[in-house]
């Protein structure tokens, strides 16, 4: 569902009326405009729609408390269709036509990458949204990412270390030829080299690939001990199906690692039991104790049901809500909308959010990453509610959140309960 500014304004007005806002007097300067492009259709669409619900929830709640600096917050979001070619135009429109005060990045590395030179040249604050190493080349000093990872090591370490513990000596890499997967692949290759692992197979595929039977067959023929996959939602789904159709070989101990999309509720429920055995990264699974997150998830679930979007909201929504919280703290902390001051504030102070405390390092990423690797176990088909309770995604790393040991080899884990 693509939203024009008019739709957003109408929705905002409707929500304001329903929240009883008319009685409240906002400051006369006009609203504080927060603008972004969000992939609501295309490969990242399922995640983006859920994230949007969380952001709108934050906007409502902030306005109920009196807005920012006494002014109402107005939220403008366009749909970039997960297409990086659309984002430069959209952000230029946001800045020059809609004249927004604060920018949030689109969800995902791929749609965000083209916007980095733009915000750097104009000296603008950009709140990152679950992208991976997108600031590495541009080195913008006003970039703050909401995702719980830092560099490739923080992401792949857990996967690689567990594989080594199981005795894996060789590894296969399968990565999409796009910004996110390539960033991750470069880091992962370095880690494999440091661990002394043999790379039996290393292939990139074009993002539009839909048939992976040939690639999976080649991986099987290479007989690796573990398979590290770096893919985006559409490909992740196709790869999981291909693995179930063709099989990856009985010698593979662990499969997965960097597959985006297996955290989206609609995909989890449509793949169902096909997910079993896969070890993949996640940002939050039920059972992890973050302050205020369970309450947030309940408030979120109500809004999500109305919007007919991901009812569980584990992956992106809490972290998008956290973006809102961080903006709020920066604005209130500096008592201004001055982008430079806000950037300094975000750099120096520890942010308190529903996904825990966040402190930023020089590159705008988390100083203390908190990515988990979890293995899908005992998942049945066509059941969303099964994911609400802990147990379907067993956390195997890091130790702080661990709930179980990994079951290997991969083929055995597929049948385990």
């Amino acid at each position: 569902m693509k939203l024009s500014r008019r739709d957003v304004l109408k929705a905002g007005a409707a929500l304001a009326v329903s929240a009883g806002i008319p009685g409240r007097a906002f400051a006369q300067q006009g609203p504080v405009k927060v603008g972004m492009s969000m992939p609501q259709t295309g490969t990242l669409g399922a995640g983006g729609q859920a994230a949007l619900v969380a952001l709108r929830l934050w906007v409502d709640e902030v306005n109920q408390k009196g807005g920012l600096l006494g002014r109402k917050v107005e939220f403008i979001a366009y749909d970039d269709q997960s297409n990086p070619a659309n984002t430069p135009g959209i952000y230029t429109k946001l800045l020059d036509v809609d004249k927004v005060d604060l920018l949030i990045a689109p969800y995902g590395t791929v749609p965000t990458a083209p916007v980095m030179p733009l915000v750097k040249q104009r000296g603008l604050l950009l709140m990152g949204n679950f992208s991976f190493q997108v600031n590495a080349k541009v080195q913008h000093d006003m970039w703050f990412n909401n995702s719980p990872w830092n560099d490739a090591a923080s992401w792949s370490d857990g996967f690689m270390k567990n594989g080594q513990k199981l005795g894996a000596k060789s590894i296969a890499f399968l990565a999409a030829d796009q910004e996110f997967a390539q960033n991750l692949a470069n880091g992962a290759r370095a880690l494999a080299k440091k661990a002394g692992m043999k790379v039996s197979y290393d292939q990139n595929y074009p993002p539009a690939t839909t048939d992976f039977s040939s690639l999976i067959r080649s991986i099987r023929a290479a007989r690796p001990d573990m398979v590290f996959v770096m893919s985006y939602p559409n490909d992740s789904v196709a790869i999981v199906r291909a693995v179930n159709e063709i099989g990856v070989g009985s010698g593979v101990k662990m499969f997965g690692g960097g597959m985006v999309g297996l955290q989206f509720t609609p995909i989890m429920s449509s793949l169902g039991s096909l997910l079993n055995g896969i070890v993949n990264y996640n940002s939050y699974v039920p059972g992890m104790k973050y302050p205020g997150i369970e309450d947030f998830l309940q408030r979120y679930a109500k809004k999500a049901a109305e919007a007919k979007v991901d009812p569980l909201g584990f992956y992106l929504p809490p972290f998008n809500y956290a973006i809102g919280q961080m903006l709020e703290q920066a604005v209130n902390g500096t008592k201004s909308l001055d982008q430079k001051k806000m950037a300094e504030y975000l750099r120096k102070n520890e942010m308190k959010t529903i996904v825990g405390p966040i402190r930023y390092d020089k590159s705008g990423e988390w100083a203390n990453p908190r990515v988990v690797q979890a293995q899908f176990r005992g998942v049945v088909d066509k059941d969303i509610e099964q994911f609400r309770k802990p147990g379907k995604q067993v956390v195997i790393y890091p130790d702080a959140y661990k709930t179980g040991d990994v079951i290997a080899p991969f083929e055995k884990a597929r049948k385990a309960r």
Binding site: T43, N204, Y205, A208, S213, S214, L215, R217, A221
Partner: protein, 291 residues
């Protein structure tokens, strides 16, 4: 790049299955462009429309192939309408119409593509069936059932159409109209009615082709661009007007794509059809069995 005879053999099998599928997908174009000389670049787009129609019908619990067959009469009518429109607007008016006819079909393809995006979004759609997702295990080799089903349907379709064109009266009239229209007129048959009928058949077949497409893999509205290359490659390689040629050409393309996929990786596979097309156009434009 991993090379082994096992992999090569599997690639060949896959290539044969894929090739037959490509042939079935192109056979409608073989009729409309090969026989009737209609510059139908919208053929893949109509086929994708068939895929989406299959998706909608199949969502009521009907098997996709059955859904495709159910849709064939509707698409037959659609084909007649399109041809009628094309004839009235362009073919009647003579040679200058060639450029405009081409532009018309290009515009039509685009409208269909965007219409699908508006109706279904840019997201991929897949069909669900018992045979999608599992494979036939022959020793070390795994052959996905979805490919076998598509292969089977494709063979039946190609065979049926070839028999129709050579054995029935209307079929032979269609071939006649392609070879010598004035002669046919002298014999009392109305060439416009026959061409209309043929175009209808070609479009009806596209409905089933669309059903096969969504069984073989996920579809999205922009997929027609890739299939323009594949279908025209098959039709040109076959030689205009040859039905058996279409099967042979399809197999060649399928095997070529499968081997390139295995040896050079997934990045080069989309270019195979177009590259082969350019080579054929450059060296032997009349194709393998052309008239």
């Amino acid at each position: 790049m991993i090379f082994s005879f096992d992999l090569l053999f599997e690639a060949l099998i896959f290539g044969v299955l894929l090739g037959c599928f490509y042939a079935a997908v192109s056979i409608g174009l073989s009729v409309s462009f090969g026989l009737l000389d209609v510059p139908n670049v919208a053929h893949p787009a109509v086929m994708i429309l068939g895929s989406y129609a299959t998706y909608v019908v199949a969502s009521y619990g009907i098997d996709p192939i059955v859904a495709g067959v159910i849709l064939m009469p509707a698409f037959f009518v659609l084909g007649i309408l399109i041809y009628r429109f094309y004839y009235e607007a362009f073919e009647k008016r003579g040679t200058e119409a060639g450029v405009r006819g081409l532009a018309f079909f290009f515009g039509l393809a685009f409208i269909i593509e965007v219409g699908l995006i508006l109706a279904f979004g840019v997201d991929q759609r897949m069909a669900q069936a018992a045979y999608i997702g599992s494979s036939l295990e022959l020793g070390e080799y795994r052959i996905p059932y979805r490919m076998l089903v598509a292969f089977g349907v494709a063979l039946v379709l190609t065979f049926a159409l070839t028999v129709y064109l050579s054995k029935t009266f209307t079929g032979r009239a269609i071939k006649a109209v392609a070879q010598d229209e004035p002669a046919l007129r002298l014999m009392g048959a109305n060439p416009v009615r026959i061409k209309q009928w043929a175009f209808g058949i070609a479009t009806g077949v596209s409905a089933l082709a669309g059903a096969m497409l969504i069984i073989v893999g996920p579809v999205e509205p922009a997929l027609d661009r890739l299939y323009i290359g594949r279908t025209f490659c098959v039709v040109v390689l076959a030689g205009l007007g040859s039905m058996t040629g279409t099967l042979a050409a399809g197999l060649i393309l399928g095997i070529a794509e499968s081997i390139v996929l295995m040896m050079l990786g997934a990045s080069w596979a989309p270019a195979v059809a177009f590259g082969l097309l350019l080579i054929v156009l450059g060296i032997r434009p009349q194709g393998l069995f052309g008239r």
